[in-house]
């Protein structure tokens, strides 16, 4: 029976993983991802989940074991955060280049140093080019449902790539929210069993991950790039299916508030919820402002974004990571690239906010819009809330 419960979002993700019936979970605990894998290890220990739980000695091993299990044809899940994701770095490329589907929740947390356990997007932004499908969720319900969607996307024969589901650490992972959990049969109907296209099998030998000599490497990279770019249509298809099955309205790019406004705030992740409140408040006060939310980060849905931004004169792009040595944050860089040379290109104003767990209240977004409209924000980027003597 479908039930609506109040639960910590991490535990809802663990429930989602259990209902996705993975064969192998290989994970190493790291704050703020710990509650997910802790709960999953209990499910396996209690016999509630028939899966192999590999308690590895590091995240490098967690991803390596995930690669091996996926090559053997298993449905694989792992989760990590921050330094853990950084430690996985080299194996993340191996998983995508070997075209192995798997799902990883990333409870986004800032990268040290200074040492920080708090939330921002600097962990995943350092992994932008790993060749994985990368999704961002805003709330607990999305975290639950996009976990199933992630398996379905990655395992699709047209994709066969690993998928990372990003959710903000603490702000989302440790939040207790009402979450609607459907019956197992509904999830089973949405997510079919995994049928690997190629797997390690003594009866039909295959070499996974051989040396890519100069005569092969370029073509191998091209194959992965085409698969990742092509995954956009599959993500769209799976979200449409999800919307029908669970009664949602998810899309690659979503809009909120006044869709014809000159000023739009662009968000990715849980800050989008605060911005929704800020936009509603401003719209209620008679101020025209809209919001664009990015759900799919890789591959970046450029056409969909351009369509969503139609008529905008100014985009106030909120970044949750600093990109040292460049002119602005990663999301702003992406959008400047998307709009480059287009006559309809809006002005792109970049605000880097919420770094290292710094709080960004609703009223701050109202202030950002006011400052942007008056031209009071820096042309490059503004480090929001920076304490400076200048």
């Amino acid at each position: 029976m479908t039930k609506r419960i109040g639960t910590e979002v991490s535990l809802a993700v663990a429930d989602a993983v259990k209902m996705a019936k993975p064969d192998v979970i290989s994970a190493y605990p790291i704050t703020p991802q710990t509650h997910i894998v802790e709960e999953l290890s209990e499910f396996v220990a209690n016999g509630e989940l028939d899966a192999e739980y590999i308690p590895v000695e590091s995240e490098h091993s967690a991803m390596s074991a995930a690669v091996g299990a996926a090559a053997a044809g298993a449905r694989v899940y792992t989760a990590t955060s921050s330094q853990g994701l950084a430690l996985m770095h080299e194996i993340l490329f191996i998983a995508s280049s070997m075209r192995l589907p798997m799902v990883m929740t990333v409870a986004n947390r800032s990268i040290s140093g200074p040492i920080s356990i708090w939330n921002d997007h600097s962990d995943i932004m350092a992994q932008r080019d790993i060749g994985w499908v990368q999704l961002f969720v805003e709330d607990g319900q999305e975290a639950l449902e996009l976990t199933w969607a992630a398996f379905k996307i990655g395992e699709d024969k047209r994709v066969l790539l690993p998928v990372a589901v990003n959710m903000d650490g603490f702000i989302l992972s440790h939040m207790i929210e009402p979450v609607v959990i459907p019956e197992q049969s509904v999830v089973d109907g949405f997510l079919p069993e995994f049928e690997p296209q190629l797997k390690l099998d003594p009866a039909d030998p295959v070499t996974f991950g051989p040396v890519g000599v100069p005569e092969v490497y370029l073509e191998a990279k091209k194959q992965c790039e085409v698969a990742l770019n092509g995954s956009k249509a599959v993500v769209k298809e799976v979200l449409d299916d999800l919307n029908k099955t669970f009664g949602r309205n998810y899309d690659l790019i979503e809009t909120n508030g006044n869709t014809g406004a000159e000023t739009r705030i662009v968000t990715m992740g849980s800050l989008g919820e605060s911005v929704m409140t800020a936009v509603d408040r401003m719209n209620g006060d008679g101020r025209e402002v809209g919001q664009i939310r990015i759900r799919l980060w890789r591959p970046f849905p450029a056409e969909e974004f351009i369509e969503a931004a139609k008529g905008a004169k100014r985009l106030v792009v909120i970044d949750r990571a600093i990109s040292p040595g460049t002119g602005c944050g990663p999301v702003a860089q992406e959008l400047k690239s998307v709009f480059y040379g287009r006559p309809d290109a809006p002005e792109i104003v970049n605000v880097i906010a919420g770094i290292g767990g710094r709080d960004v209240p609703v009223s701050d977004f109202v202030k950002m819009v006011e400052m942007a409209e008056k031209g009071e924000l820096a042309e490059t980027y503004t480090l929001w809330g920076l304490n400076s003597d200048a």
């Binding site: 280049s97 075209r99 190629l198 092969v216 073509e219 091209k222 194959q223 992965c224």
Partner: protein, 96 residues
């Protein structure tokens, strides 16, 4: 544009996996070579030491009884020239 690729990317196996064991022999590694071994037939005593020492196992006896490298695989390392007791092999810069 150089013709260095083995096959079109569309024909490459998923994830560049290899489905036919032993296909390394299809990869001609001889183009890594800078120096090529040249045999002085007068000096060669057919002792086979060059074939034994060759790390590529690419030197074998030919129809004329002499030992020569398969240049599709010879990387020009010069071990054969170094080991030849009669100094019958010299390493020569190869024009490409």
């Amino acid at each position: 544009m150089s013709k260095q690729s083995i096959c079109a990317w569309q024909k490459l196996e998923l994830g560049a996996a290899i489905r036919d064991p032993g296909n390394a022999s299809a990869l001609k590694t001889g183009d890594w070579r800078t120096l090529v071994p040249v045999l002085d037939e007068e000096k060669c005593i057919k002792c086979t030491l060059c074939a034994i020492y060759c790390p590529e196992f690419c030197i074998s006896e030919r129809e004329d009884g002499l030992f020569r490298p398969d240049l599709n695989y010879c990387k020009g390392c010069g071990i054969c020239a170094n080991e030849c007791p009669k100094s019958a092999i010299s390493m020569v810069m190869e024009d490409k």
